[in-house]
Subunit: 269 residues, 3 copies
């Protein structure tokens, strides 16, 4: 990209003053910086979901500077990092797992630990540490000048829970739910195949609120209004949605909860 | 306008990753595109209110590219359209009524049906189909190159419910409620006149939660704190507000509900 | 800053159409204007908290045009002002206390009362009066051309409630709570010192929901998970937070409520 692009992903809340503070730091550094809000409605402190969203959105702007803050441990001993990527971009954020997946997917080639700013507030590293670093990188400053070199291989990773698969049964954890009530599972297309879930098949989906019939479909629009669809979502994850309804509410699930998808046993002939 | 402007209106939720995904597509196409968020808090799937808001905001930037997605039927057979306007701007969105009013108000002069992208996710046309089309138009590409020509006259329209009017009585459907609890009705100034609602008059407003006294006023600030005002809102619609309060909660109404406004009968002298 | 910067702070709600309307006015005036959203989630009509947030964010961009609208009295007799600052920037907003602190902190050097626009909607001065004035200032127009000169000394101020201090006891009003449940008090570091609150000390914090143990700390990360910390927040205010929890919910407080922080009496030796 021809102009400096900085993306922002936080759990600060949409259009909160915390988001505004970070924007203000970037604009004060240079109003020409192109600012892109990736998401600010990440559930509070949900480092795992933040990491998943950051990775998939950053892939679309591989040479931008990605500023990410989901940081329940702000003020503690976790490191503050700026990471150079093979794609030419950078990631700036806490070393708590949030930036693990994206720095692996886009290949970290260098990293520095950002120093605390003398006299800075201890509770708002987004404004005091991360945004100033992102601005400096966007303006072309060398990564090495921002902090102490550290080994990129030591960036804290994130292991997503694996789906548990047996013939005709898949159990997976809920990664996140969106405004539409669509439930995104920690399982991918090949997990669904391995469990024998076939397109068009009727299955049973069980969550804390009970068991519901569903269909394996290409999209929720392929099932009747109010019916549940199991499908591969736009990010490649297995998901459950209710056509024109709220699957998360119906199944009673929240991020971190469990969902089972089962092929009903066919009675022997 | 001198630079390419793309506006965005969706029901994706404020600062959600879905909004961020669409921004990312535009920035990846060209960071110089000026992006303007019209609204992302349209009630889920409320095509009608989305259409109303899109029309009134797009009128202010008639030569911009307007990207609108309130699309409960994503993945179904409804068409994806890009429409050229007499004003020099464009509208890109699903052909489900959402873009009907704005393409009529700003006069559609050409339209194309956008093809599905091979291998694209079936559940996120905003990212896969609409945003790429908007970016191409913003960058100056010819509309005809984006898809198959269709007759602009065939764009799905939207008929707002009419107010029911008799002397001293107006009944109208609720189009939308905002954060302030102001209730916007599917009725215009001339409906109010036809029903004989006069400035300064005391009226009775009835919603599901009961009947309340109100005054026909220029603005809610013209009535006492906690009193209801019936007024013509900033978009020209008849509205009900409570001065420093929440009229929607008080009347118990939601979008799609009904409100009656009646002039009390004067006892015969 | 080299390009025209306009900041926005309102209680319109994140990504609401009201916010979009104001952006549309600015972009229609000139798409090159750099727009910065400071905050749009100010509690409805909370002029005081809006003023506090506006002041601290505007300090970071002293030469920008700051457009602020938290205006429960829109349509009433309060003045609409545009104010020139010694820093070279401007503040545009209602004269209801909202712009008092920032125009004092950045030193108002001139002010004009903005006229109502003939035929404009009475209920949306943000779009009809304030945004057009901000755009004109951003484009370099002279302040005097926008309205009738008024004395900057007459701008409505805002007096924050003082903390009540006695040895070992501080009582203060809640200014605001953020998404994290952190409680910001109308008290500063020197109030805490005056009350004898010492770093590392155990204290008792009392809110409407009861009394809780807490520690005077540098940050919430300095206390155990689920424990309460009393600390100086990133804006210099005394605050109460629960590490990885919601202090506002635990104490049962909302903006305008009262909190007491007490040093437990040591039994005589």
């Amino acid at each position: 990209v021809s102009r400096a692009v900085v993306t922002l992903l936080t759990d600060y809340g949409p259009h909160s003053e915390h988001v505004g503070s970070v924007h203000a730091v970037l604009v004060a550094a240079d109003p020409e910086i192109v600012r892109v809000d990736f998401a600010h409605d990440i559930p509070l402190g949900d480092v795992r979901f933040g990491a998943v969203v950051l990775e998939r959105l950053a892939m679309r702007l591989p040479d931008a500077v990605h500023l990410a803050v989901v940081d329940p441990g702000v003020g503690s001993e976790r490191r503050a990092l700026a990471v150079g990527l093979a794609s030419g971009g950078y990631v700036v954020g806490p070393d708590n797992g949030l930036i693990g997946p994206v720095t692996r997917a886009l290949e970290a080639v260098a990293a520095v630990a950002l120093p605390a700013r003398p006299g800075a507030a201890a509770t708002f590293d987004g404004r005091e540490v991360f945004a100033p670093a992102a601005a400096r990188l966007a303006l072309g400053e060398d990564l090495e000048r921002l902090g102490t070199p550290v080994d990129p291989a030591g960036i804290v990773g994130l292991s997503l829970p694996s789906a548990v698969i047996s013939p005709g049964l898949l159990r997976a954890e809920v990664l996140g739910c969106d405004r539409f009530g669509n439930v995104q599972l920690a399982a991918r297309a090949d997990d669904a195949s391995a469990a024998g879930l076939l397109a068009g098949q009727r299955v049973e989906v069980t969550g804390p609120a009970g068991r519901c019939d569903a269909f394996v479909a290409r999209t929720f629009a392929d099932v009747a209004r109010g019916a549940l669809a199991v499908y591969i979502d736009s990010h490649g994850w297995l998901a459950v949605a209710e056509n024109l309804g709220d699957a998360a509410a119906r199944l009673g699930v929240r991020p971190g909860g469990m969902i089972a998808i089962a092929v009903p046993r066919t009675p022997a002939p």
